[in-house]
């Protein structure tokens, strides 16, 4: 393996991993604050890609249409997320919540099929990011580097939100002691809806952001499902940093695995999962 | 010496929940473990029963070092526990609760072919009789009032035919009558079956009423370990309970 190949795979792996990370971020936020496991989160990712595509299509030609589409798609998915959260509210037990969101995987997938058909769509990269960059003699796709940057930026923004703003403090307090927060006059239902909305926004935006690198089709949710949750479990449910580390590991394992066993790169991911879970069943940064 | 606890220490972050605790118990002892809230009594129980592992120290039972054993193995060594917050099987009936405990202690749990409802009916009945729950045998455990759940808790612990019984606040939440009944029961099983019993309690009349020896804990350490009368006199004990004032 040459150095060039190595760097290319490395960047490719990091890109894939960080897309997983963006989806996992929303999941971790929702789980951390509300202890809800949202199995339909990857479906929200797919929804973001579809919403985004059609918003972009309508806005085509306008200045900054891609970026606007990302934001609007994110918001649209956030609304979908809030609706889902509303229905989820009466359910208290974990198993019930998992199964309820599981039902939504099918509902969302079929609704997407209903509105946008079973075909796939391709989204071109936005102008300015469609070329490549030469670093140290190696040609790298600009868009991949952009994704790496944007995902880290999103994580940083979320972290800032949680640690520096008042809202963030309230959210963190709610993780530890819901009743107390409620007694301080904060309306918990609104807070939870907001948190779910933020998590959904991130997933939806990620959906559209990742779209130019592949195609937008109905199977996107299934493709993401296992890897994203594996990332969350290895990293430790609810931990952002854990998810980051785990997603990079998974991304790189997959990228290099493809070189060795192209048909079954997934198997390598498994070995990693199994090994980590045996050594540390609660995940890298999970609470035991 | 049936139970020997030696230098047991359990640390949570900056808190020494159990601090270098040592004591021994002979067969047939009926010992009370008392101390203000947060003294580390329940934590000590959790370490002895294998739910927590200590940072230092040993627990030796019948000559065997059981410190590192997981809870299910410790039960098989014939140590029984009744928890403070009722820890029963809510979806099963009272009868089934005791039955499973019996199955588990007799090693029958791998049996996949016999019909469970017909098994060990007599033994189950005996234990229900002993804790006074015979009439509620077919009630769903979760639907019982709290004091009855406590009795079931005790029944489950007894089902394992333990040599050493650890009871964490066996009378909490019970009325004066029920408390009396429970403590008479504890005294009875100690005297008739020779069971060694260590119990945590807050109700002083109960403690001084039946314990033959009292161990007092405070801030994780043992500050007294003697007969009831001498413990009553000890200044340290009074200090601990009254909050450093004498």
């Amino acid at each position: 393996m040459t150095f060039v190949t190595f760097v290319n795979q490395f960047i490719s792996g990091a890109t894939y991993g960080l897309v997983l990370f963006m989806v996992a971020l929303g999941l971790a936020l929702i789980f951390g604050v509300m202890s809800i496991v949202n199995l339909a989160h990857p479906s929200l990712y797919m929804l973001g890609a579809f919403f985004g595509y059609f918003i972009w299509f309508s806005l085509k030609g306008y200045y900054l249409s891609f970026w606007l589409s990302v934001i609007l798609a994110g918001l649209a998915v956030a609304c979908a997320g809030i609706i889902l959260e509303f229905f989820l509210r009466p359910l208290r037990e974990h198993t019930e919540q998992i199964l309820f969101t599981y039902a939504f995987i099918y509902i969302i997938a079929d609704l997407v099929k209903m509105f946008w058909g079973g075909r796939y769509y391709t989204l071109p990269r936005p102008p300015g990011l469609d070329g490549s960059v030469t670093v140290g003699g190696i040609i790298l796709p600009t868009y991949n580097l952009f994704i790496i940057g944007v995902s880290l930026l999103m994580a940083a923004l979320l972290w800032l939100l949680l640690s520096k703003t008042k809202l963030g403090k309230i959210i963190r307090a709610a993780v530890f002691d819901r009743e107390m927060v409620a007694m301080l006059g904060i309306r918990l239902p609104w807070l939870f809806a907001l948190v779910f909305g933020i998590g959904a926004f991130v997933a939806g935006a990620a959906g559209l952001l990742a779209a130019p690198m592949g195609s937008i089709a109905v199977g996107m949710d299934a493709e993401m499902l296992v890897p994203v949750f594996v990332v969350c479990i290895i990293g430790g449910m609810g931990s952002f940093l854990g998810a980051l580390i785990a997603s990079l590991i998974i991304g790189e394992v997959y990228a290099f695995g493809i070189l060795v066993l192209p048909q079954m790169a997934m198997a390598f991911m498994f070995v990693v999962v199994v090994v980590i879970l045996i050594i540390r069943p609660q995940g890298i940064l999970g609470r035991s | 010496m049936i139970l020997q606890v030696d230098g047991l220490t359990k640390i949570f972050g900056a808190l020494r929940a159990v601090n270098n605790v040592s004591f021994g118990m002979d067969q047939g002892d009926l010992v009370a473990l008392i101390g203000p809230n947060g003294a580390g009594k329940s934590t000590l129980f959790n370490v002895i029963t294998g739910f927590l592992s200590p940072e230092a120290g040993k627990v030796i039972f019948n000559g065997e070092d059981i410190t590192k054993l997981p809870p299910h193995r410790i039960t098989h060594k014939r140590i029984g526990v009744a928890f403070q917050l009722t820890n029963i099987f809510p979806g099963l009936t009272v009868f089934q609760n005791i039955q499973v405990a019996l199955f588990a202690s007799r090693g029958k749990t791998k049996n996949m072919y016999s019909l469970a409802p017909k098994m060990m009916k007599e033994e189950t009945g005996e234990i229900l009789e002993a804790v006074g729950l015979s009439e509620m045998a077919h009630t769903l455990a979760d639907s019982m009032p709290q004091p009855d759940k406590k009795r079931l808790e005790l029944g489950i612990a007894l089902a394992g035919k333990p040599e050493l019984l650890l009871l964490d606040e066996p009378t909490s939440g019970q009325s004066a009558e029920e408390t009396f009944y429970t403590m008479e029961l504890v005294k009875k099983i100690n005297e008739e079956q020779g069971l060694t019993i260590l119990f945590i309690e807050h109700k002083m009349p109960v403690v001084f009423g039946i314990a033959r020896r009292i161990i007092v804990m405070h801030h994780g350490s043992v500050i007294a370990d003697a007969e009831p009368e001498s413990v009553r006199e000890k200044k340290e004990v009074q200090k601990a309970y009254l909050g450093e004032k004498v």
Binding site: H94, T95, E96, I107, L225, L277 | P71, L92, K108, M112
Partner: protein, 306 residues
Amino acid sequence: MLLASVIVAVIIPHLLPRYYIHLLNLFLIGSLFALSFNILLGNTGLLSFGHAAYFGVGAYAAALLMKKVGLHYFIAIPLSMAITGVIAAIIGYFCSRVVAMSFAILTLAFGELLFVIASKWYTFTGGDDGIQSVYPPDIIASSAGFYYFTLIVVTLGSLAIWRILNSPFGYTLQCIRNNRQRSESIGINVRRYQWMVFIVAGVFAALAGCLFVTLNWSVAPPEIGFVKGGEPIVMTIVGGQYIFGGPIIGAAIFTFFQFFIGQITIYWALVIGIVLALVIRFLPGGIGGFIQQRMAASHQAQQSRV
């Protein structure tokens, strides 16, 4: 009542058109599959998203044993169950080390792994085409013959499961579902029992898979995947996870629904998703649980009238 249903069950293949018998067979196989799943969920409290893996492996194993090794169907079945048991033992070993949510995802992940293996290992498993032309032996090849065979096998399998669930082992599983900590402290090695029950459930799923492969005359990767894994989940939740007959009711509803709704619309998954969501929200005990409650309530009402 029992006699009547037995008579109906026996006469039925002679009364109904071919396709309905096919549905009946699907229902029977689905019941066994769902019952095997409920050993894990309703009884032990373990939610497995990858249970189809064992159904599929059972089907593949039977097919491969018949086609590549030339074994007779009746010998292939127990052998396939044994093979699946071994695979369940391996996967279960890892899955039983984790709890709840991680367990659910891990079972899903392993299911997907097996799906990928089945799809890509062309030389062994026939890849995406799967294994074709798997015919049942002549004795049971007729429509009625196969139906009776399936009926007998499923009935025996269900009785075996019932027996297991009402044995001390079954009670132990319920303890684990009710209170893990207490189970540990009465002497139950929870991890080991989770492992054992995983194997038991897998073996029965394999039996259902064996029946399926000769009904369908073939097996392909989708029988292992995520979507197939959803079937026992839906059947069990809709039918009711807390009573023995729940999965059977759920299997009936699912099978016939799938047929009738499938005639009206292709958005069958949407309907199932909505039904599942509604049941979880409004009928936590499933339809079976609901019926049981009604019966208990009217029983009480009758008693108080006296």
